[in-house]
Amino acid sequence: MARRDPWPFIGLVAFFALLFVALFGERLAPHESIYFVVEHGRDPRPYDPGLVFPFGSDVLGRDLFSVVLAGARTTLGIVVLGGLARVAAGLVLAVAASLSPGVRATADAISEIVAAVPATLVVLLVVLVFVRGETTFLVFVGALLVTGWAGPYRVLRAEVDRLGHMAFTESAAAIGASRLRVAARHHLPHLVPMLAVNLSQQTVASLVALAELGVLGVFVGTYRHISVGASMSFVPVGIRADAFIADPPEWGGLLANGRDPEALWTTRWVFLVPGVAFALASVLVAAVGLGLARRYARRNLLDDLRGRGAAALSVAAIVLVVVAALVPERYAEARAWAADARASVAHVDDLERSFAAAGLAAVGGSYTVERDVERIAQTAPATARVGDAAVSESSSGPLDVLALLFRDSGGGRVEAPLVFASWGLSPSDHRPAPILGFPDLGTVIADWPDDYGAVDVRGKIAVVLRPLRVSIGRRVVAGPDADTHISDVLKRGPAAVIYVDPDLPRFPRVPTRTFPNPYTRLVTARPVERVDGPPVIVLSPAAADRLLAPAGIRPSEIYGALPGGDISTATDYAKHSAARVLGLRAEVSVPAAIERAHVRSVVGAVPGAPRGARRVVVWAVLPTGEPGSAGAADVVAGLARMLARRAVPVTLVAFDPAIDPDGNAALVADRLGAGSLSLVVVLDGLTGRRLHVSTRNGDLIPALDLYAERAGARHAPTLGTAGDSFEWPGIRPFLDVRSVLITGDTGAGDLRGDAAATVGYLVGRLALGAEEVPR
């Protein structure tokens, strides 16, 4: 041949390019994949190329180029493993088939079926079924193997057959060469071009499968649902603040977030950047295969392996791998901080003295923030009893019994005659005030009988049903709010109130912004003032049925009998009040008492940090029982000793949440100056087997997981952003600051060291200038 074939050289270059990106991609990326730019002025995310990052950002504000580089190792690893598995399975089966007719018939039949089913659909099903929140990539490699071994098997089997009938095989056998020797010495070199082409084809096929899953919105690895809305200072309309992201970053997951049809016009780089990565990788892999195939089409592999070139190439590859292993990771020294923090955990009795001894600076003149607090609190579950029937508060299941301690009610145990006040509607409570001629509650019930005229509730236990809706003709008016309705009963001087609310079971025990509970809101907005007032207990109709059975009243039937669920002017209630004296005695008990405490939180700042630097607060929650026994306090004491001479902008707080966490926290927040904080790391309840991290600020989740992993802490990966119900003792004054709660899962086990290491690593990165912490 006159000219040297360029393809082997191109293949070699492609191979080293892929190896280099896989080994060093993460290290070369300009930013880490845990770095989010959540806000950039008023620019909408994803940011256009060149605005914040040269290749643009993804939906959540990460540098796409960096994420693609960081994801190269995982992605290429999966697909090469998948391709290898397919070809290896094909080769093994082909050799087995050439030796045994039984294997051959079976493998032929199965491969015919496997090859006939479209691989995309099968991989999609396998991944959907087997990939759960926390799985390994091996599932995906398995799916690739199951769907793709048939192609290599068929090609290789034909080739093995052909070689078996060649004259040189027979001659070799005739001069006494063993089967193994024939296979290794004579057949393998012939198979090399075919194996190379197959391997590259199957690797490309795996890449395509991975990409197709991404386009179809199905992830391959662990994935997290992340919302960065809480980290933004304002929320623009129409811009997504949440997305699924893969961890470790992987290209298919990137495609999944850019695949909307509108993205073709608006944000095409979100799809194009990982798409180009896929296409380039496919072409490079194909080039490697093509190069190998063309080089070994007429040349023996074994000759080459003995030559000097092969040795030089393998040395080069090994050097690359070794260098990759030796290059220190980013902020490698932070691991030493983590180790120091872990070693410094120790039990202390007096945090104030230990802060002072360590050399922390007092904040606002003192190490302690103290106050006296008292509050009236319920001490035991509420109960109610009528004759033999009784109901009491439980702590689980749907709400059906709820003691209501607020400004107008109180606690205590009351025994008194029982009266039924029906709907508790009195025209005197609701003045008619029609709006633009539309009737309101007052107009509708203006000439209805007064339920409180029919019975005298003074000194008695009143049963009141909540009227949800009242109607006149086809007009429906909402009934009174539960809190004003209850206050209306209470101002008539009953000994206690049993209030029946059909909506009660629908309210959550722990309210959130999206699922509020009006009763808990009432308790916070109008706190209780008396230990012994008239107790109020709210029941669901079902619970009321049980309690009032001896009195012959079944509230659920009363509600069920209302036409359309409304009390209308057409019903009897508009003419005669159903209120009556029941002639039974009842007992209502809402145990309550005054709690008092002297609250003492300890605060200390690490001295020497640059002036004006926004500080990270480590917020250890003291146990409300006996201070000093908690894991979190020991971590803070250890951190105090370790950090005192390291001049990082960190403030340590041992927070006493007793009785009134929000009030206590407000005092501490005043001392700290909440505006100059960048992050609050909350440590609470550090026992169990694994640490759990939760936060409303989704941009912190990948970072915290990375910290815990690098610090060698036992931790469970966080799979999603905490919702509205996210809470830690004292959160209210810090709602504008990014915060992270680190706890243990309940159970035996000491996690103090793990939590200390995680925080130590974080502080270490902060000191070394990592970009994701200060913001």
Binding site: P6, V117, L124, S200, D260, L264, L272, G275, S282
Partner: protein, 294 residues
């Protein structure tokens, strides 16, 4: 002849076996994962909430036919025609463009660089994932259209008109590349054969040799290449149809998986499997057993 009959008989056999397997397995498998919404605007959905008789709530998936507001039979027949239109177009393109490219590469073989370039470029082109080709074409059309100030081509949607252009191009790229490669290889082998050397030595005209002595040997390879190349197209059918909102068999299969509609999935999969099996048989039957056996 019996070889051909046996091979053809295997086609319905494979289809039946796969049908049985899928019909048995897919309803079971589909209970094992929650349904998901494929993407906004594509009509499939497990977004609905259904009230159960016991008062609780459960996620509720529409069947694919419900999502498309039509009957199962009408939807499937329509979808099958849409997909077959794409595949037929791809076959035509592969035969004409791929075959010509392959022949050109082989005739240029004395110029190693040119023929190497054709082979290399087609190999690499075959490696570019179809979804990327599709997306790249869509963007190119949008950008060019915006630059030209007009509406160049529809970027997605269905229609037996200019809507066909982009899906057809993206689905036939691997088939074209594969056909070109196989044709070139085969033609190279034939050009190296002794009888061509002899014909040359006798002083026959180059064009005559090619037309009378070479091309007849290359023709069966075209069919083989078509069979193998189109299988790649069928494999990428689901993704291409989803990207172009084509609502053919492949896209419906994906929707059926997303909304856990087992009958629709089995039907779509069986159609795809039949096409696959037929193409495999065509490729096998036209594969020459050995060079110049007759």
């Amino acid at each position: 002849m019996s070889r051909v009959a046996a091979r053809l008989l295997r086609v319905p056999l494979v289809v039946l076996v796969v049908w049985g397997l899928l019909a048995a397995a897919s309803p079971l498998v589909m209970t094992l994962y929650p349904g998901y919404t494929l993407r906004y605007g594509v009509g499939s959905g497990c977004g609905g909430i259904q009230r159960l008789p016991n008062g609780g709530f459960a996620a509720f998936c529409q069947t694919v036919a419900q999502a498309h507001h039509t009957t199962f039979a009408a939807l499937m027949v329509d979808a099958a025609f849409r997909s077959l239109a794409l595949l037929a177009g791809a076959a035509l393109l592969a035969l004409v463009v791929g075959g010509l490219l392959g022949i050109a590469a082989a005739l240029l073989r004395r110029r190693a660089l040119a023929s190497g370039a054709v082979i290399g470029v087609t190999s690499l082109l075959a490696a570019v994932p179809s979804f990327f080709v599709a997306y790249f074409l869509q963007i190119a059309v949008i950008v060019l259209g915006a630059g030209g100030g007009g509406h160049l081509l529809p970027v997605f949607g269905f229609g037996y008109d200019e809507h066909l252009v982009l899906p057809l191009l993206s689905i036939s790229v691997p088939a074209i590349a594969y056909t070109a490669q196989l044709t070139a290889t085969r033609m190279n082998d034939v050009l190296d054969a002794d009888f061509v050397t002899t014909a040359n030595a006798k002083g026959l005209l180059g064009s005559w040799i090619v037309r009378v002595h070479v091309l007849p040997h290359v023709r069966p390879v075209l069919l083989e290449a078509l069979g193998s190349g189109l299988r790649v197209s069928v494999a990428s059918l689901p993704i291409i149809e989803v990207l172009f909102s084509w609502n053919g068999i492949g896209a419906l299969a994906v929707e059926a998986i997303a909304s856990k509609d087992a009958p629709a999935f089995v039907f779509c999969a069986v159609v795809l499997v039949s096409v696959f099996a037929l193409l495999s048989a065509a490729a096998d039957l036209s594969r020459p057993r050995a060079l110049f056996a007759r």
